[in-house]
């Protein structure tokens, strides 16, 4: 591995690169789905390749190739990256590409702490676990019952021309169940522990065993069927309590993306969009109420954004994003941070060997407050409790959002009352976070994995995490305005 990286960097230097980095990435995954008593999908995949990024004459170039069986490939990739960098100079920036501080020279090593290697668990056991859970989902008016399991391993070998190198071994595990109830033209879904194939963590198979999928199956099915009889969620202004899973996506869309410094500088303008969080807001903008405290924390155990090094070699770190409601920090890579004379926040992440690092979320966590969940319900009479994301949409500056959840309940007398179907809520980002007046405590706080965060051209999918506990928001527009 070291030979391949060294060959690529040596070739890049000879071709005139003032900076180069090489990443050899070996990814492996397995995916299983049991649907209606049958194996709907069961497959494994493996992908290995080399990506080389260079700066020549102040301009970037990147090339990548899957076939790294011959050492000569490394030099060929570096040569193509150099050719591309020279083409970039045809339409160049006023200033040459500049990188802020990243990792210290030296060799680093990181591995996800794993109790039980998920790749060592037999296929029979994996499918058996899913089959047992899926069987307990089945019932009348439930034409689709599903159980999912995914495992993922990414080994990265990195080196750059500044003497930074690391080997990193990330392991991710995730699973979930879902029941789809259908009657006439109505169909409703309930999921556990989260929608869209479950929840995910950097962890071993112990994470899946602890989920107790089978133990939650009957409740999930019952709720899916109850939704068929539930009335439509009424529209109007309501106090709402969001469960941790929905709140994770709320954090993702309305905090995680706007704080990406590359978006702020317009480098995603044509695709993912920009951000309302322009640089003059740093340090003074009132993002939310004093109850809103958010960090970007690549060191939080178990998060999908937990790692030792980002894909520029910057060590994973925790940085403050919102402190007592005030915006205090972006997530950044070396290039975007340099524009503000800052060090990288350690958030440069690439989707495999064939993509460049972009500014991506690590674990964007809403820190816990003081409330017990039961006390919060008791204090929110007449409100709504919304659980489990169903849909999401937000504008290209991350202000106007609309979310749908699988289910809502009236909060009445300190308890969950009548169930509603098709709940949605909408708002404007700073107003919404400004309406947050209660966050549940650490006892109710957990990490949620989002394995499908899209950004960049060509498209990249990032695996990111969000730590949340249920929280209350006042006077929120629920349902669609007529």
């Amino acid at each position: 591995m070291e030979d391949v990286l060294k060959s690529a960097l040596d070739a890049a230097r000879v071709l005139g690169a003032t900076f180069a980095e090489a990443r050899l990435v070996d990814e492996r995954s397995e995916s299983y789905e049991v649907k209606n008593g049958k194996p709907a999908a069961a497959s494994s995949s493996a992908s290995v390749g080399l990506g080389v990024r260079v700066i020549i004459d102040g301009c970037w170039g990147f090339a990548s190739v899957a076939d790294v069986s011959k050492k000569s490939q490394a030099a060929r990739v570096a040569k193509l990256a150099a050719r591309i960098a020279r083409a970039s100079a045809v339409v160049r920036a006023a200033e040459p590409a500049k990188l802020g501080p990243g990792g210290e020279p030296g060799e680093g090593r990181y591995s996800t702490p794993v109790q039980e290697d998920p790749f060592a668990v037999s296929v029979e056991e994996k499918l058996g676990l899913l089959a047992a859970a899926e069987k307990r989902l089945r019932g009348p008016e439930l034409p689709v019952t599903q159980a999912f399991l995914s495992i993922f391993r990414k080994r990265t070998h990195f080196a750059n021309t500044e003497g930074v190198s690391f080997d990193q071994d990330i392991v991710e595990t995730g699973a979930g169940i879902a029941a789809t109830a259908v009657r006439g033209s109505d169909f409703q879904v309930r999921s556990y522990p989260n929608s869209f194939r479950g929840n995910f963590a950097t962890a071993g198979f112990e994470y899946v065993r602890a989920m107790d999928l089978a133990g939650n199956a009957e409740r999930v099915s019952a709720e899916a069927r109850q939704l068929l009889d539930a009335p439509q969620c009424p529209a109007g202004r309501r106090d709402v309590v969001l469960d941790g899973g929905q709140l994770a996506l709320q954090v993702h869309e309305s905090i995680g993306h706007p704080i990406e410094l590359d978006r702020v500088f317009g480098t995603e303008a044509a695709y993912a969009g920009t951000s309302f969080l322009t640089t003059e807001k740093l340090g003074g903008f009132k993002y939310g109420s004093e109850h809103v405290n958010v960090v970007a924390d690549a060191t939080e155990p178990g998060g999908l954004g937990t790692f030792g090094f980002d894909d520029e070699g910057t060590p994973g770190k925790r940085v403050d994003v919102i402190r007592n409601g005030v915006f205090v920090g972006y997530i950044s890579d070396r290039e975007s941070a340099a524009r503000l004379n800052l060090a990288s926040s350690g958030a440069a992440r690439a989707d495999g060997w064939g993509r460049i690092p972009l500014v991506r979320m690590t674990n964007i966590n809403l820190l816990p407050g003081e409330w017990k969940f039961d006390d919060l319900l008791a204090d929110t009479d007449g409100g709504l409790y919304l659980a489990t994301n169903r849909s999401w949409s937000i504008d290209d500056r991350r202000l106007n959002f609309q979310f749908g959840t699988e289910v809502a309940w009236d909060i009445s007398g300190g308890k969950l009352g009548r169930m509603y179907k098709n709940p949605t809520y909408t708002g404007i980002t700073p107003e919404f976070w400004g309406s947050c007046d209660a966050v549940c405590s650490r006892d109710f706080w957990k990490m949620w994995g989002t394995p499908n965060c899209g950004k960049g051209q060509p498209g990249q999918t990032a695996h990111v995490g969000h730590g949340t506990s249920p929280a209350r928001f006042r006077n929120v527009q629920v349902g669609v305005v007529k």
Partner: protein, 456 residues
């Protein structure tokens, strides 16, 4: 390029490894390609990338049990490992009594060669050529005091399939895309051109950036208007979002079987205006064609909506067997848990010009593009999203000025029942997430529901 002969050589090796591992039936697919993309922002190139990859996907089948694996290690060791992994999964899998088996050679006969699907110039377009296109947009933007961002992408791809049922398919193709977003004073405009040949878009590319810049300039100082029902003229990019979601929510046969489709029980009935005829044509070289699906079944041309009546459903072998139909060449593969979906959608043009649609609108909105659209209520085909890159008020048949962006929440089927005019010119549009090419004209609708607004 790997080429036909070498592709089949790799696939034959895979079939042999699967047989050696114990598979009673075997499937192998090779997807290969090189893609390059030059990205620009703030009027300069900031990202410029290339990727070469080739992945083989194998399936081992034993009776009605199966397992799959994929790898981009194409040597004997890599392919052998994938074959053994697929067999290990198949061995432990439960029996699927509804598994239709691999498509037979009779069903998956030779697919037609599509002239023009592969364009050598497009597949091998140089970084310098892409940079010159970027330069064109950036120079125009700078001359107008506007900031331009976007991408120019090009590449070639190959797909080959071989099965133990003697199915053999191979195709190659090229793809090109150019998109530009222009911004000034918080206002934005954009344009997007996609297809399989750079030369076919030459006339558009000669003016690359101009439409985006002019739209941005016209979008400055937007006024706020109230949400509610508005007559709309939708530019092709906005129409593509609606069509893409209709296809996703309505034309998946698997969703019909499970009662999840917005068109379940409505096939053969009028579900949209009689001005709407929607087809799927995977053989049209003007899209990025693919003559067969991932089971190896040749693609059939489908009429999804004929004068507003829901007509053809795409099928894979599984849904075809269950619904008493024939596979149509729209499968994602024999082991895919997804159904079958149209991937090359064309909305038939009408006769109206964009100018006429605007001139015939006393009061309404012109929408250039929707963004971040998602499903709100799937069986009612209700979707929600934002406008972006150009929203204009129409008053007395004229563009009266820019409007702050708005959120819509609307049933696609209801919207498409209110079509008043269909544009005469069809444009190939990349999806919201760069996911394929949809070919659509502009539309005029008598009403469209907006449910929120932004400050910009």
């Amino acid at each position: 390029m790997i080429g036909r002969d070498r592709s089949f050589s790799i696939l034959e090796r895979a079939l042999s490894e699967l047989e050696k591992a114990g598979a009673k039936a075997a499937y192998a697919r090779l997807s290969a390609g090189s893609s390059e993309l030059t990205r620009f922002a703030n009027n300069y190139i900031h990202q410029n990338v290339a990727e070469e990859d080739a992945t083989i996907t194998v399936a081992a089948i034993v009776g009605r049990k199966f397992g799959g694996a994929s790898t981009n290690r194409l040597d004997r060791a890599g392919v052998g490992q994938a074959a053994r992994q697929a067999m290990a999964i198949a061995t432990e899998a439960a029996e699927d009594k509804e598994f239709p088996g691999l498509a037979s050679a009779a069903v998956a006969g030779p697919a037609p060669e599509i002239q023009g699907a592969y364009d050598q110039k497009t597949a091998t377009l140089s970084p310098a050529s892409r940079a010159r296109l970027v330069s064109r947009a950036a120079k125009y933007a700078i001359s107008k005091g506007v900031v331009a961002s976007g991408k120019v992408s090009s590449g070639g791809h190959e797909l080959a399939i071989a099965t133990s049922n003697d199915v053999r398919q191979y195709s190659s193709g090229s793809s090109f895309g150019a998109a530009c977003t222009a911004m000034i004073d918080g206002a934005a405009g954009s344009e997007d051109w996609s297809g399989s040949s750079v030369d076919a878009l030459e006339a558009r590319l000669a003016l690359f950036g101009k439409e985006a810049v002019e739209t941005a300039l016209l979008s400055r100082k937007p006024r706020k208007v109230d949400p509610g029902e508005w007559a709309v003229v939708l530019a092709p990019r906005a129409v593509s979002t609606i069509v893409d979601f209709l296809v996703y929510l309505g034309f998946d046969a698997q969703a019909h079987l499970e009662g999840r489709s917005c068109l379940a029980g409505k096939m053969g009935t009028q579900v949209a205006s009689d001005k709407i005829t929607l087809r799927d044509d995977g053989l049209d070289p003007a899209s990025v064609p693919l003559p067969f699906d991932f089971e190896g079944v040749p693609r059939k041309r489908l009429t999804l909506l004929e004068k507003g009546v829901a007509k053809d459903l795409p099928h894979n072998s599984r849904t075809a067997k269950k619904m008493g139909a024939a596979p149509t060449g729209h499968s994602f593969g024999p082991l895919s848990s997804h159904g079958a979906l149209p991937m090359h959608v064309v909305l038939d043009p009408g006769e109206a010009t964009l100018e006429h649609m605007i001139a015939s609108t006393p009061k309404g909105l012109f929408v250039n593009r929707f963004w971040y659209t998602n499903v709100a209520e799937p069986t009612k085909a209700v979707i929600t999203g934002m406008t972006r890159d150009g929203l204009f008020l129409i008053e007395n048949g004229r563009i009266a000025g820019p409007v702050c962006n708005m959120r819509f929440t609307e049933s696609i089927l209801e919207a498409l029942s209110r079509v008043e005019a269909v544009g005469a010119e069809v444009q190939g549009v990349g999806g919201e997430w760069d996911d394929g090419v949809t070919r659509v004209p502009a539309l005029k609708l008598s009403a469209f529901r907006f449910t929120g607004a932004t400050e910009f």
